[in-house]
Amino acid sequence: MPKAQVPPPPAPIGGRRPPTFQEEVIASIPADSRLETCIQCGTCGGSCPSERDMDHTPRQIFALIRAGARDRVMNSNTPWMCVSCYLCAVRCPQQIHIPDVMYALKAKATKEDRVPSHVAPDFSRTFVDYIHKYGRSFEVGLVAKHYLRHYPLRLPNMATSGMGMVTKGRMGFMPHRIKGVEGLNAILDRASELEDAKQRSLYDAPAKEGAH
């Protein structure tokens, strides 16, 4: 049995304390996620089309975040199984931006390299690399690279459909490079710096009362 995890003690009056895991997650979501308002009703998990493949339901993940169970959250496959269909988000009585929480958890896990499987982060990285290089996605390169690396055994069966895509003119073999690709990378690099600065500021600012 894993030892029950105890949430950090409340902030000493007038003092500083390190941010709780929940505060950290909330700070890494660009918009107001309303994560702290979760009432643990479970509507999210009940609505989710891929819930049966998840280690924890979204509700459990939110409870674990609140409990500060960082390791269990980071090692869970739940964020990676989210299909971003927003059914949970429109049904949530607290209007929590649930897919945004999942994205933030994915980004955190990728950054710390604590992912349950490398397939999904690899796909995201390959995709993002094409954006950095060309400014646009490159479907042929992306799928070919990804399947060769992770699902070589599925390739023979996919070959017929793949050839179909070629003969039906649905495959562009040359990636399109946008003119402003350097500018785009400058924008993205600046965004990275700003994102890191925001995470660091969590440790500098005095803790808000009752924030956790």
């Binding site: 660009p30 089309p49 269909c85 646009r136 924008i187 965004a191 994102e195």
Partner: protein
Amino acid sequence: MAQYLYYPGCSMDGTGRAYHDSIEAVLPTLDIRLAELDDWNCCGATEYMGISPLRSQALVGRNLALAEKQKNGSNTLVAPCSACYVNLARTDSYVRESKELAATINEALAADGMSYTPGSIEVRHLLEIMIDDIGLDELGKHVTRPLKGLKLAPYMGCLVSRPDYDDRWQHREHPHALDQLLLTLGADVVEFSRRTDCCGGHMTQISPDTGLELIRRLIVAAERSGAHALVTVCPMCQMNVDFYQREMNHHYRENHHMPILFFTQLMGLAYGMSAKSLGIGREIISSREALANIGIEVPLTEEEEAELAAAAKPARRKRGDVSLPSPEPRQDEEALR
């Protein structure tokens, strides 16, 4: 004439070619002009947020900034792909909601001398333009070949009516916009319970078992509803249901055949345009049988022609075949009488 800014998205040159073809074909009929955004970049799909949430917003911010710079007459940015639409709409909505985020995004955009004023651009999906701006009356006026007898399952997918940042949709789980459009074209619209279910998105890449299950649910539901074909508004949904259908059949040892077409292709058919000009025939799961129900012929692709030609050739005698050649029975029985 209605004029809009247009964000085609990366699929339009490749996997979504048929969508591109059919949009180009129907626009003149409806007197719509789409001005493509200059030098737009990828919206990040469902991948960039999983690497860095803030960078993904800045990525979209560049497109919004370009749109603001380019707007002339129209401040509506139209996306035909549901994933592009939701990404553009998300950033637009968040920067309107949070001054702090708007400032951060603008600080990032300043690295390339760009900026975006929250609220200056309105992001909408192509389906919304058709239904709300053009209107069903106008869409119906141009119908010269009603699709009567063609049973269609309206598959809107998840990301048009959800998350619905601007409260434009009355029903986020069971919207009937696509039904209305198809009814206007004269088609028989079946009751399709999974109209806003997920196609699996990128799951076919990162967890095929999950993705194929979601695709199977859609196809089985469409079959049960008696549909000849699914109708979609998104190149990603089309790709998943079409390209991965064989893989799904293989995975479950089943034999489904459910073609999926873009709503603009059906508009074009109802407006009397040829199947070829609408990119019909580009789908992997052929819609030939489905469209034969209403007497529309789909031209053979080069691949199929080659297959037919190969089948028509008399089979060569196998090496080592010592049987005597038998005479062919005569085909023209009339002549014998």
